[in-house]
Amino acid sequence: MSPAVRRAIALAALAGLGVALLVACLGLPDFGHPRGPYATAVIPLSLDHRHVTSAVAGVTFDIRGIDTLGEELILFSAAVGATVLLRSQRAEEDARDAIERHHELAERTPAPVRGLGAALAGPLLVLGVYIVAHGQLTPGGGFQGGVVLASAFLLVYAAGHFIRLGRVKPESLVEAAEAAGAGAYVLIALGGLVFAGAAMENFLPYGTTGELLSGGTIPVLNAAVGVEVCGAIVLILSELLDQAMLRHEDA
């Protein structure tokens, strides 16, 4: 069918959907008065029982921790899927061509850009680790901090430098980091089963509320998620760049 006919049918169908949605909206609870006891019951549970000051972290990693396990595995499989798709047609020459091309581009990057990138990469790493570590106290946590850490790596690449690693092949290091993060989360969930009788149950000492090491297993889970998210995003970006972002020393 021609695009004009398709557009007309789409507009008609979407108008019908819009009317149905609007009628449904009128049956929702009043804006500003959340119905349901879950919202108020969760807060003393996070504060007193779990000793975290961020109620959102308490819900994400303890009360609804199984959902977060599922979401993290979605992230892991999405990164693996994108990598498999992008690698299946990549020949060795493509990777070497990409690295040569980016060498030439790096030589043309102006000095202020290179200096700014090099200067900002360190503070970005520290900021990322700070956000991951304070997830149970203030807004933050593994997901946000992991993206900030990945952006530090991207900044190093955009400033014209490659991320040089040692004799280990760089893509296997990133893959290992991502898998380690996902595996650590599952192991901690199983550790609850082994040490405390129920999966995802807490088995570390709680600490005092408001300190950096409070909340039992929540800081450890945050760290695992941070490593995994950082690894996933760096892997996807380096695959899209034909692995020109990471390279190993030519021994």
Binding site: A10, L11, G81, A82, L86
Partner: protein
């Protein structure tokens, strides 16, 4: 005025689906999908909002102050990052489709056979 957040959520969903249906470029399709996904965020936040409530972080406010619902925020938090990686899978599929068929137009994807 009380229906405004829900109306914005419905509008974003409709606009996003319209963008997906009438798209002529695969990357444009993926970014329209991002707009459609944002409608769920608006809807969840609108359900959980409490008038006069503050953010549910008790680091510097005394326990007992009215806060907005933390459960919907926990649902949205992981979803935002997962959406980025799922968009990456869609973009990888777009790269494969372009390599295979030579065109990034969704209308022409089935025609050319290599």
């Amino acid at each position: 005025m009380n229906v405004a957040p829900y109306a914005v959520a419905a509008w974003l969903l409709l606009v996003g689906i319209y963008g997906v249906v009438t798209s002529r470029h695969l990357v444009h399709l993926v970014l329209s999908l991002v707009v459609a996904q944002a409608s769920t965020y608006v809807l969840l936040l609108a359900i959980g909002y409490r008038t006069g409530g503050r953010a549910p972080i008790f680091f510097d406010i005394p326990p007992g102050t009215p806060v907005v619902d933390p459960v919907v925020q926990a649902l949205m938090l992981t979803d935002v990052v997962v959406e980025a990686t799922v968009s990456a899978v869609l973009l990888a599929l777009a790269v494969q489709a372009h390599k295979r068929f030579g065109s990034a137009d969704p209308d022409r994807l089935g025609e050319l056979r290599g």
